[in-house]
Protein backbone atom coordinates (compact mmCIF):
# COMPACT_ATOMS: atom_id res chain seq x y z
CA UNK A 1 0.00 0.00 0.00
CA UNK A 2 1.41 3.38 -0.93
CA UNK A 3 1.75 6.11 1.65
CA UNK A 4 -1.02 8.19 0.15
CA UNK A 5 -3.44 5.29 0.28
CA UNK A 6 -2.59 4.66 3.88
CA UNK A 7 -2.86 8.35 4.69
CA UNK A 8 -6.39 8.71 3.34
CA UNK A 9 -7.83 5.76 5.24
CA UNK A 10 -10.62 6.82 7.54
CA UNK A 11 -10.90 4.81 10.72
CA UNK A 12 -14.50 4.12 11.63
CA UNK A 13 -16.17 3.08 14.80
CA UNK A 14 -13.86 4.57 17.40
CA UNK A 15 -15.50 4.70 20.83
CA UNK A 16 -17.15 8.01 21.46
CA UNK A 17 -17.01 9.95 24.68
CA UNK A 18 -19.87 11.55 26.55
CA UNK A 19 -23.14 9.93 27.54
CA UNK A 20 -25.16 8.11 24.89
CA UNK A 21 -28.23 10.34 24.94
CA UNK A 22 -30.07 12.10 22.08
CA UNK A 23 -29.09 15.52 23.40
CA UNK A 24 -27.74 17.31 26.44
CA UNK A 25 -29.30 20.60 25.42
CA UNK A 26 -31.47 22.15 28.09
CA UNK A 27 -32.65 25.24 26.20
CA UNK A 28 -35.92 25.35 24.30
CA UNK A 29 -34.55 23.83 21.10
CA UNK A 30 -38.00 22.44 20.24
CA UNK A 31 -39.53 25.89 19.93
CA UNK A 32 -38.30 26.60 16.41
CA UNK A 33 -39.56 23.30 14.93
CA UNK A 34 -42.93 23.83 16.64
CA UNK A 35 -43.28 27.31 15.11
CA UNK A 36 -42.24 26.06 11.67
CA UNK A 37 -44.66 23.14 11.77
CA UNK A 38 -47.49 25.41 12.90
CA UNK A 39 -47.04 28.05 10.22
CA UNK A 40 -46.40 25.63 7.37
CA UNK A 41 -49.30 23.37 8.34
CA UNK A 42 -51.64 26.33 8.61
CA UNK A 43 -50.50 27.51 5.18
CA UNK A 44 -50.93 24.09 3.58
CA UNK A 45 -54.42 23.70 5.04
CA UNK A 46 -55.49 27.17 3.99
CA UNK A 47 -54.05 26.99 0.47
CA UNK A 48 -55.55 23.55 -0.12
CA UNK A 49 -58.94 24.82 0.98
CA UNK A 50 -58.55 27.83 -1.26
CA UNK A 51 -57.39 25.83 -4.26
CA UNK A 52 -60.38 23.50 -4.00
CA UNK A 53 -62.88 26.33 -3.59
CA UNK A 54 -62.96 28.11 -6.90
CA UNK A 55 -65.38 30.85 -5.86
CA UNK A 56 -64.77 34.48 -4.96
CA UNK A 57 -61.20 34.48 -6.20
CA UNK A 58 -61.89 37.41 -8.47
CA UNK A 59 -63.49 40.79 -7.77
CA UNK A 60 -64.46 42.03 -11.23
CA UNK A 61 -66.39 44.69 -13.10
CA UNK A 62 -69.63 44.08 -11.18
CA UNK A 63 -67.86 45.45 -8.10
CA UNK A 64 -65.94 48.08 -10.03
CA UNK A 65 -62.68 46.30 -9.32
CA UNK A 66 -60.12 44.08 -11.08
CA UNK A 67 -58.60 42.08 -8.26
CA UNK A 68 -57.48 38.49 -8.73
CA UNK A 69 -56.20 36.17 -6.04
CA UNK A 70 -52.56 35.09 -6.52
CA UNK A 71 -53.67 31.46 -6.10
CA UNK A 72 -55.75 31.78 -9.27
CA UNK A 73 -53.49 33.82 -11.52
CA UNK A 74 -53.03 33.20 -14.37
CA UNK A 75 -56.54 31.75 -14.63
CA UNK A 76 -56.19 29.16 -17.35
CA UNK A 77 -59.52 27.30 -17.48
CA UNK A 78 -62.61 28.08 -19.52
CA UNK A 79 -64.51 27.96 -16.23
CA UNK A 80 -62.65 31.01 -14.86
CA UNK A 81 -64.82 33.84 -13.58
CA UNK A 82 -65.76 36.46 -16.20
CA UNK A 83 -62.90 38.90 -16.67
CA UNK A 84 -60.33 36.83 -14.78
CA UNK A 85 -59.37 34.53 -17.63
CA UNK A 86 -55.91 34.72 -19.16
CA UNK A 87 -55.49 35.04 -22.95
CA UNK A 88 -54.73 31.34 -23.19
CA UNK A 89 -57.03 28.85 -21.50
CA UNK A 90 -58.01 25.19 -21.44
CA UNK A 91 -61.42 24.20 -22.68
CA UNK A 92 -63.35 21.89 -20.38
CA UNK A 93 -60.88 21.61 -17.45
CA UNK A 94 -63.19 20.06 -14.86
CA UNK A 95 -61.31 20.94 -11.68
CA UNK A 96 -60.42 24.17 -9.93
CA UNK A 97 -58.30 26.42 -12.18
CA UNK A 98 -55.87 26.90 -9.28
CA UNK A 99 -54.76 23.28 -9.67
CA UNK A 100 -53.39 24.06 -13.14
CA UNK A 101 -50.79 26.46 -11.84
CA UNK A 102 -50.09 25.89 -8.17
CA UNK A 103 -47.50 23.20 -8.89
CA UNK A 104 -45.04 25.94 -9.90
CA UNK A 105 -45.08 28.12 -6.78
CA UNK A 106 -45.41 24.94 -4.72
CA UNK A 107 -42.41 23.34 -6.41
CA UNK A 108 -40.43 26.56 -6.06
CA UNK A 109 -40.99 26.66 -2.32
CA UNK A 110 -40.60 22.91 -1.80
CA UNK A 111 -37.17 22.91 -3.45
CA UNK A 112 -36.08 26.23 -1.92
CA UNK A 113 -32.88 25.85 0.09
CA UNK A 114 -34.38 27.75 2.99
CA UNK A 115 -37.61 25.76 3.16
CA UNK A 116 -35.65 22.56 2.79
CA UNK A 117 -33.66 23.50 5.86
CA UNK A 118 -36.89 24.24 7.71
CA UNK A 119 -38.93 21.20 6.83
CA UNK A 120 -36.04 18.76 7.09
CA UNK A 121 -35.65 20.00 10.62
CA UNK A 122 -39.25 20.48 11.69
CA UNK A 123 -41.09 17.69 9.87
CA UNK A 124 -38.40 15.16 9.10
CA UNK A 125 -36.36 15.63 12.28
CA UNK A 126 -33.21 15.34 10.34
CA UNK A 127 -32.08 16.81 12.72
CA UNK A 128 -34.84 18.50 14.77
CA UNK A 129 -32.29 21.00 16.09
CA UNK A 130 -28.51 21.29 16.20
CA UNK A 131 -26.80 18.71 18.40
CA UNK A 132 -30.10 16.86 18.86
CA UNK A 133 -30.01 13.36 17.36
CA UNK A 134 -31.78 12.91 14.09
CA UNK A 135 -34.43 10.24 14.22
CA UNK A 136 -33.25 8.00 11.42
CA UNK A 137 -31.47 4.67 11.39
CA UNK A 138 -29.75 5.40 8.10
CA UNK A 139 -29.31 8.61 6.23
CA UNK A 140 -28.55 9.36 2.59
CA UNK A 141 -29.32 13.08 2.51
CA UNK A 142 -30.08 14.42 -0.92
CA UNK A 143 -28.10 11.79 -2.79
CA UNK A 144 -31.01 9.56 -3.88
CA UNK A 145 -34.47 9.74 -5.37
CA UNK A 146 -36.71 11.52 -4.44
CA UNK A 147 -34.58 14.11 -2.66
CA UNK A 148 -32.06 14.25 -5.48
CA UNK A 149 -34.85 16.09 -7.33
CA UNK A 150 -34.12 19.12 -5.15
CA UNK A 151 -31.45 19.84 -7.74
CA UNK A 152 -34.22 21.04 -10.06
CA UNK A 153 -34.68 24.15 -7.95
CA UNK A 154 -33.36 26.53 -10.59
CA UNK A 155 -36.10 25.51 -13.03
CA UNK A 156 -38.74 26.39 -10.49
CA UNK A 157 -36.86 29.63 -10.01
CA UNK A 158 -37.25 30.41 -13.71
CA UNK A 159 -40.96 29.53 -13.55
CA UNK A 160 -41.25 31.72 -10.47
CA UNK A 161 -39.98 34.69 -12.46
CA UNK A 162 -42.78 34.19 -15.01
CA UNK A 163 -45.32 34.10 -12.19
CA UNK A 164 -43.86 37.22 -10.64
CA UNK A 165 -44.19 39.03 -13.96
CA UNK A 166 -47.83 37.91 -14.25
CA UNK A 167 -48.68 38.93 -10.70
CA UNK A 168 -47.01 42.29 -11.26
CA UNK A 169 -49.19 42.70 -14.34
CA UNK A 170 -52.26 41.84 -12.22
CA UNK A 171 -51.24 44.44 -9.66
CA UNK A 172 -50.82 47.14 -12.31
CA UNK A 173 -54.15 46.27 -13.89
CA UNK A 174 -55.86 46.53 -10.53
CA UNK A 175 -55.12 50.26 -10.49
CA UNK A 176 -57.59 50.66 -13.34
CA UNK A 177 -61.03 50.07 -11.88
CA UNK A 178 -63.61 49.09 -14.50
CA UNK A 179 -66.21 51.83 -14.96
CA UNK A 180 -64.36 54.19 -12.60
CA UNK A 181 -60.88 54.77 -14.00
CA UNK A 182 -57.42 54.87 -12.53
CA UNK A 183 -57.23 55.02 -8.77
CA UNK A 184 -55.69 53.53 -5.68
CA UNK A 185 -57.68 51.17 -3.49
CA UNK A 186 -56.57 49.05 -0.56
CA UNK A 187 -56.78 46.08 -2.92
CA UNK A 188 -54.28 47.60 -5.35
CA UNK A 189 -51.83 48.11 -2.49
CA UNK A 190 -52.35 44.56 -1.29
CA UNK A 191 -51.63 43.16 -4.75
CA UNK A 192 -48.62 45.44 -5.18
CA UNK A 193 -47.11 44.49 -1.84
CA UNK A 194 -47.72 40.84 -2.62
CA UNK A 195 -45.92 41.10 -5.96
CA UNK A 196 -43.07 43.04 -4.35
CA UNK A 197 -42.55 40.41 -1.66
CA UNK A 198 -42.59 37.66 -4.27
CA UNK A 199 -39.95 39.50 -6.29
CA UNK A 200 -37.81 39.92 -3.20
CA UNK A 201 -38.22 36.22 -2.42
CA UNK A 202 -37.17 35.23 -5.97
CA UNK A 203 -34.31 37.69 -6.30
CA UNK A 204 -32.86 36.64 -2.96
CA UNK A 205 -32.93 32.97 -4.04
CA UNK A 206 -29.63 31.08 -3.84
CA UNK A 207 -30.00 29.79 -7.41
CA UNK A 208 -30.50 33.40 -8.53
CA UNK A 209 -27.34 34.48 -6.72
CA UNK A 210 -25.42 31.65 -8.35
CA UNK A 211 -26.76 32.36 -11.82
CA UNK A 212 -26.17 36.11 -11.48
CA UNK A 213 -22.48 35.74 -10.74
CA UNK A 214 -21.74 33.20 -8.03
CA UNK A 215 -20.98 30.72 -10.79
CA UNK A 216 -17.89 32.48 -12.16
CA UNK A 217 -14.35 31.60 -11.19
CA UNK A 218 -13.06 35.12 -11.46
CA UNK A 219 -15.06 38.23 -10.64
CA UNK A 220 -12.43 40.36 -12.33
CA UNK A 221 -13.04 38.56 -15.61
CA UNK A 222 -16.83 39.03 -15.41
CA UNK A 223 -17.46 42.59 -14.18
CA UNK A 224 -21.16 42.76 -15.05
CA UNK A 225 -21.98 39.47 -13.40
CA UNK A 226 -19.92 40.57 -10.41
CA UNK A 227 -22.07 43.72 -10.17
CA UNK A 228 -25.26 41.66 -10.35
CA UNK A 229 -23.93 39.29 -7.71
CA UNK A 230 -23.12 42.21 -5.44
CA UNK A 231 -26.65 43.47 -5.92
CA UNK A 232 -28.42 40.24 -4.99
CA UNK A 233 -26.03 39.14 -2.23
CA UNK A 234 -27.47 41.46 0.47
CA UNK A 235 -30.96 40.30 -0.52
CA UNK A 236 -29.80 36.71 -0.30
CA UNK A 237 -28.74 37.27 3.29
CA UNK A 238 -32.40 38.05 4.07
CA UNK A 239 -33.86 35.17 2.07
CA UNK A 240 -35.38 33.64 5.18
CA UNK A 241 -37.30 36.82 6.00
CA UNK A 242 -38.58 37.15 2.45
CA UNK A 243 -39.55 33.48 2.42
CA UNK A 244 -41.80 33.85 5.46
CA UNK A 245 -43.12 37.30 4.59
CA UNK A 246 -44.08 36.35 1.05
CA UNK A 247 -45.64 33.06 2.17
CA UNK A 248 -47.84 34.65 4.78
CA UNK A 249 -48.72 37.60 2.61
CA UNK A 250 -49.74 35.55 -0.39
CA UNK A 251 -52.32 33.82 1.81
CA UNK A 252 -53.48 37.15 3.24
CA UNK A 253 -53.87 38.50 -0.29
CA UNK A 254 -56.08 35.56 -1.15
CA UNK A 255 -58.13 36.19 2.00
CA UNK A 256 -58.49 39.86 1.10
CA UNK A 257 -59.62 39.20 -2.47
CA UNK A 258 -62.11 36.60 -1.25
CA UNK A 259 -63.56 39.00 1.30
CA UNK A 260 -63.98 41.70 -1.34
CA UNK A 261 -65.31 39.34 -4.02
CA UNK A 262 -67.85 37.78 -1.68
CA UNK A 263 -69.10 41.21 -0.63
CA UNK A 264 -68.09 40.73 3.01
CA UNK A 265 -66.08 43.95 2.86
CA UNK A 266 -65.81 46.81 0.36
CA UNK A 267 -62.44 47.53 -1.11
CA UNK A 268 -61.82 51.06 0.12
CA UNK A 269 -60.86 53.58 -2.53
CA UNK A 270 -58.12 55.83 -1.21
CA UNK A 271 -57.72 58.32 -4.08
Amino acid sequence: MSTTERATQVVLGGTRGGPDVPTLRTDRWWLQPVVTVSILTAFVIYSTWSAFNPHNYYAGAALGRDLISPFYSPCLASSCAAGSRAGFFLQGWPLSPALLILIFPLGFRLTCYYYRRSYYRAFWWSPPACAVSDKHATYSGETRFPLIMQNAHRYFFYAGLVFNALLTYDAIRAFHQPGIGWGVTVGTLVLTLNATLLWLYSLSCHACRHLCGGQVKSFKAAPIRYRLWKLVTPLNARHMNFAWASLIFVALTDVYVRLVASGAITDLRLF
Binding site: T15, L24, R117, R121, A131, G141, E142, N151
Partner: protein, 259 residues
Protein backbone atom coordinates in the same frame (compact mmCIF):
# COMPACT_ATOMS: atom_id res chain seq x y z
CA UNK B 1 -17.53 35.53 43.50
CA UNK B 2 -20.07 32.69 43.49
CA UNK B 3 -19.95 28.94 43.54
CA UNK B 4 -21.10 26.97 40.51
CA UNK B 5 -21.47 23.30 39.71
CA UNK B 6 -19.75 21.89 36.68
CA UNK B 7 -20.72 18.42 35.48
CA UNK B 8 -17.71 17.26 33.52
CA UNK B 9 -17.64 13.99 31.59
CA UNK B 10 -14.63 11.96 32.69
CA UNK B 11 -13.56 8.78 30.99
CA UNK B 12 -11.89 7.16 28.00
CA UNK B 13 -12.58 4.48 25.39
CA UNK B 14 -13.36 1.98 28.13
CA UNK B 15 -16.23 4.11 29.46
CA UNK B 16 -16.87 7.04 31.71
CA UNK B 17 -19.41 9.18 33.52
CA UNK B 18 -20.14 12.66 34.79
CA UNK B 19 -18.18 14.01 37.76
CA UNK B 20 -19.57 16.98 39.61
CA UNK B 21 -17.28 19.77 40.72
CA UNK B 22 -18.36 22.74 42.79
CA UNK B 23 -15.96 25.55 42.14
CA UNK B 24 -15.77 29.31 42.47
CA UNK B 25 -16.60 31.59 39.59
CA UNK B 26 -15.31 35.14 39.31
CA UNK B 27 -16.61 37.94 37.17
CA UNK B 28 -15.82 37.63 33.50
CA UNK B 29 -14.55 34.08 33.67
CA UNK B 30 -14.95 31.61 30.84
CA UNK B 31 -15.62 27.89 31.13
CA UNK B 32 -11.94 27.12 30.47
CA UNK B 33 -10.96 29.18 33.54
CA UNK B 34 -13.12 26.95 35.69
CA UNK B 35 -11.77 23.78 34.07
CA UNK B 36 -8.28 25.05 34.88
CA UNK B 37 -9.33 25.79 38.46
CA UNK B 38 -10.66 22.25 38.80
CA UNK B 39 -7.35 20.91 37.45
CA UNK B 40 -5.45 23.09 39.93
CA UNK B 41 -7.52 22.04 42.91
CA UNK B 42 -9.52 18.83 42.78
CA UNK B 43 -8.62 16.93 39.62
CA UNK B 44 -5.07 17.42 38.33
CA UNK B 45 -5.61 14.52 35.93
CA UNK B 46 -8.57 16.12 34.12
CA UNK B 47 -7.61 16.09 30.42
CA UNK B 48 -8.45 19.07 28.24
CA UNK B 49 -6.84 20.61 25.18
CA UNK B 50 -6.13 24.31 24.91
CA UNK B 51 -3.51 26.67 23.56
CA UNK B 52 -4.39 30.28 22.91
CA UNK B 53 -7.25 31.08 25.28
CA UNK B 54 -8.26 33.67 22.71
CA UNK B 55 -10.57 31.77 20.38
CA UNK B 56 -7.94 31.50 17.69
CA UNK B 57 -6.36 28.06 17.87
CA UNK B 58 -9.49 25.94 17.94
CA UNK B 59 -8.03 23.41 20.39
CA UNK B 60 -10.50 23.83 23.23
CA UNK B 61 -13.61 22.82 21.29
CA UNK B 62 -15.99 20.74 23.42
CA UNK B 63 -19.71 20.70 24.18
CA UNK B 64 -21.21 22.95 26.82
CA UNK B 65 -24.79 22.23 27.88
CA UNK B 66 -25.04 19.97 24.87
CA UNK B 67 -23.83 22.46 22.25
CA UNK B 68 -20.43 22.62 20.55
CA UNK B 69 -18.61 25.67 21.95
CA UNK B 70 -15.07 26.89 22.52
CA UNK B 71 -14.30 26.50 26.23
CA UNK B 72 -12.19 29.65 26.15
CA UNK B 73 -14.82 31.85 24.53
CA UNK B 74 -17.88 30.84 26.51
CA UNK B 75 -18.40 33.21 29.39
CA UNK B 76 -19.95 31.69 32.48
CA UNK B 77 -22.27 34.68 32.90
CA UNK B 78 -23.84 33.98 29.50
CA UNK B 79 -24.94 30.52 30.50
CA UNK B 80 -28.26 29.94 32.24
CA UNK B 81 -28.34 29.41 36.01
CA UNK B 82 -27.78 25.91 37.31
CA UNK B 83 -25.14 23.27 36.73
CA UNK B 84 -23.13 23.49 33.52
CA UNK B 85 -22.45 20.27 31.60
CA UNK B 86 -19.16 19.92 29.80
CA UNK B 87 -18.66 16.95 27.47
CA UNK B 88 -16.18 16.05 24.75
CA UNK B 89 -17.13 16.49 21.11
CA UNK B 90 -19.48 13.64 20.33
CA UNK B 91 -18.60 12.91 16.71
CA UNK B 92 -14.95 11.98 17.21
CA UNK B 93 -13.43 9.04 19.09
CA UNK B 94 -12.59 9.80 22.70
CA UNK B 95 -9.01 9.91 23.94
CA UNK B 96 -9.67 11.01 27.50
CA UNK B 97 -12.10 13.30 29.33
CA UNK B 98 -12.57 16.35 27.07
CA UNK B 99 -9.93 15.35 24.53
CA UNK B 100 -11.00 13.68 21.29
CA UNK B 101 -9.14 12.25 18.34
CA UNK B 102 -9.91 14.61 15.47
CA UNK B 103 -7.75 12.84 12.88
CA UNK B 104 -10.83 12.12 10.76
CA UNK B 105 -10.50 15.75 9.71
CA UNK B 106 -6.86 15.37 8.72
CA UNK B 107 -7.78 12.44 6.51
CA UNK B 108 -10.44 14.57 4.83
CA UNK B 109 -7.94 17.41 4.40
CA UNK B 110 -5.54 15.07 2.60
CA UNK B 111 -8.24 14.16 0.12
CA UNK B 112 -8.79 17.70 -1.16
CA UNK B 113 -7.44 17.96 -4.73
CA UNK B 114 -4.89 20.78 -4.59
CA UNK B 115 -4.88 24.13 -6.34
CA UNK B 116 -3.82 23.71 -9.92
CA UNK B 117 -2.67 27.02 -11.39
CA UNK B 118 -2.09 27.49 -15.12
CA UNK B 119 1.54 27.74 -16.29
CA UNK B 120 3.09 30.95 -15.00
CA UNK B 121 2.74 33.72 -17.55
CA UNK B 122 5.80 35.86 -18.25
CA UNK B 123 4.59 38.78 -16.17
CA UNK B 124 3.80 36.46 -13.26
CA UNK B 125 0.42 35.55 -11.72
CA UNK B 126 -1.94 38.39 -10.88
CA UNK B 127 -4.94 38.30 -8.63
CA UNK B 128 -7.38 41.15 -8.27
CA UNK B 129 -8.84 42.51 -5.09
CA UNK B 130 -12.43 41.38 -5.72
CA UNK B 131 -11.24 37.81 -6.23
CA UNK B 132 -9.00 37.92 -3.16
CA UNK B 133 -11.88 39.16 -1.01
CA UNK B 134 -14.19 36.41 -2.10
CA UNK B 135 -12.33 33.64 -0.30
CA UNK B 136 -11.32 35.76 2.68
CA UNK B 137 -14.21 34.58 4.80
CA UNK B 138 -13.21 30.94 4.37
CA UNK B 139 -9.64 31.62 5.42
CA UNK B 140 -10.84 32.74 8.84
CA UNK B 141 -11.39 29.09 9.78
CA UNK B 142 -9.50 28.15 12.96
CA UNK B 143 -10.06 24.43 12.49
CA UNK B 144 -11.87 23.90 15.73
CA UNK B 145 -13.93 21.21 13.93
CA UNK B 146 -17.08 22.10 15.82
CA UNK B 147 -18.93 22.31 12.50
CA UNK B 148 -17.82 18.75 11.78
CA UNK B 149 -18.87 17.74 15.27
CA UNK B 150 -22.38 19.17 15.00
CA UNK B 151 -23.05 17.90 11.47
CA UNK B 152 -25.70 15.22 11.85
CA UNK B 153 -24.49 13.43 8.70
CA UNK B 154 -21.60 12.00 10.71
CA UNK B 155 -22.66 12.86 14.27
CA UNK B 156 -25.62 10.49 14.00
CA UNK B 157 -24.35 8.21 11.23
CA UNK B 158 -20.82 6.99 11.82
CA UNK B 159 -20.92 4.96 8.60
CA UNK B 160 -21.05 8.13 6.49
CA UNK B 161 -17.57 9.12 7.64
CA UNK B 162 -15.82 7.25 4.83
CA UNK B 163 -17.52 9.30 2.21
CA UNK B 164 -18.09 12.73 3.66
CA UNK B 165 -15.74 15.68 3.83
CA UNK B 166 -17.95 17.76 6.10
CA UNK B 167 -18.59 21.50 6.36
CA UNK B 168 -15.04 22.50 7.29
CA UNK B 169 -13.80 21.02 4.03
CA UNK B 170 -16.74 22.23 2.00
CA UNK B 171 -15.49 25.75 2.72
CA UNK B 172 -12.05 24.67 1.53
CA UNK B 173 -13.55 23.23 -1.67
CA UNK B 174 -15.54 26.42 -2.15
CA UNK B 175 -12.45 28.55 -1.70
CA UNK B 176 -10.61 26.54 -4.34
CA UNK B 177 -13.56 26.47 -6.72
CA UNK B 178 -13.80 30.26 -6.45
CA UNK B 179 -10.06 30.74 -6.97
CA UNK B 180 -9.39 32.55 -10.25
CA UNK B 181 -6.02 30.83 -10.69
CA UNK B 182 -7.34 27.31 -10.27
CA UNK B 183 -7.91 25.06 -13.24
CA UNK B 184 -8.89 21.92 -11.34
CA UNK B 185 -12.53 20.94 -11.80
CA UNK B 186 -13.50 19.25 -8.54
CA UNK B 187 -17.23 19.09 -9.14
CA UNK B 188 -17.37 15.35 -9.74
CA UNK B 189 -15.10 14.75 -6.81
CA UNK B 190 -17.21 16.94 -4.56
CA UNK B 191 -20.31 15.01 -5.49
CA UNK B 192 -18.89 11.51 -5.42
CA UNK B 193 -15.98 11.49 -2.96
CA UNK B 194 -16.69 14.44 -0.69
CA UNK B 195 -20.36 13.53 -0.33
CA UNK B 196 -21.83 16.99 -0.77
CA UNK B 197 -25.25 15.46 -1.47
CA UNK B 198 -25.40 14.13 2.09
CA UNK B 199 -25.58 17.63 3.47
CA UNK B 200 -29.21 18.66 3.74
CA UNK B 201 -28.37 22.33 4.33
CA UNK B 202 -29.88 22.37 7.81
CA UNK B 203 -27.27 24.96 8.78
CA UNK B 204 -26.05 23.66 12.13
CA UNK B 205 -22.46 24.15 11.00
CA UNK B 206 -23.17 27.83 10.42
CA UNK B 207 -24.85 28.08 13.82
CA UNK B 208 -21.83 26.82 15.74
CA UNK B 209 -18.94 28.37 13.80
CA UNK B 210 -17.02 30.63 16.21
CA UNK B 211 -15.67 32.62 13.26
CA UNK B 212 -19.21 33.26 12.01
CA UNK B 213 -18.39 31.88 8.59
CA UNK B 214 -21.59 31.55 6.60
CA UNK B 215 -20.67 27.97 5.77
CA UNK B 216 -24.03 26.90 4.33
CA UNK B 217 -24.97 30.04 2.42
CA UNK B 218 -21.56 31.00 1.08
CA UNK B 219 -19.85 27.66 0.58
CA UNK B 220 -22.18 24.65 0.60
CA UNK B 221 -25.06 26.07 -1.43
CA UNK B 222 -22.70 27.61 -4.03
CA UNK B 223 -21.04 24.19 -4.29
CA UNK B 224 -24.42 22.46 -4.65
CA UNK B 225 -25.26 24.90 -7.43
CA UNK B 226 -21.94 24.11 -9.12
CA UNK B 227 -22.75 20.41 -8.97
CA UNK B 228 -26.14 21.22 -10.51
CA UNK B 229 -24.30 23.03 -13.33
CA UNK B 230 -22.17 19.97 -13.95
CA UNK B 231 -24.76 17.21 -13.50
CA UNK B 232 -28.37 18.23 -13.33
CA UNK B 233 -28.78 21.19 -15.65
CA UNK B 234 -29.19 20.33 -19.34
CA UNK B 235 -29.28 24.01 -20.29
CA UNK B 236 -25.93 24.68 -18.62
CA UNK B 237 -24.56 21.53 -20.26
CA UNK B 238 -25.67 22.72 -23.70
CA UNK B 239 -24.24 26.18 -23.02
CA UNK B 240 -20.91 24.61 -22.14
CA UNK B 241 -20.89 22.55 -25.33
CA UNK B 242 -21.51 25.60 -27.47
CA UNK B 243 -19.03 27.76 -25.59
CA UNK B 244 -16.37 25.11 -25.77
CA UNK B 245 -16.85 25.01 -29.53
CA UNK B 246 -16.45 28.75 -29.92
CA UNK B 247 -13.47 28.65 -27.59
CA UNK B 248 -11.73 26.03 -29.71
CA UNK B 249 -12.50 28.13 -32.72
CA UNK B 250 -10.97 31.16 -31.05
CA UNK B 251 -7.94 29.09 -30.16
CA UNK B 252 -7.64 27.88 -33.76
CA UNK B 253 -7.85 31.43 -34.99
CA UNK B 254 -5.10 32.47 -32.62
CA UNK B 255 -2.59 30.11 -34.21
CA UNK B 256 -3.36 31.30 -37.72
CA UNK B 257 -0.38 33.23 -39.05
CA UNK B 258 -1.10 36.91 -39.59
CA UNK B 259 -1.65 37.74 -43.27
Amino acid sequence: MTDVTLRVWRGDASGGDFEEYVTEQNEGEVVLDLIHRIQATEAPDLACRWNCKAGKCGSCAAEINGKPRLLCMTRMDQLPEGPVTVTPMKTFPIIRDLVTDVSFNYRMAEKVPALLPPPMPEEGYRMFQEDVERGQEFRKCIECFMCQDVCHVIRDHEENKTNYAGPRFFIRYAELEMHPLDTNDRRDFIREEAGLGYCNITKCCTEVCPEHIKITDNAIIPLKERVVDAHYDPVAWLGRKIRRKTKTKAADAAVQPAP
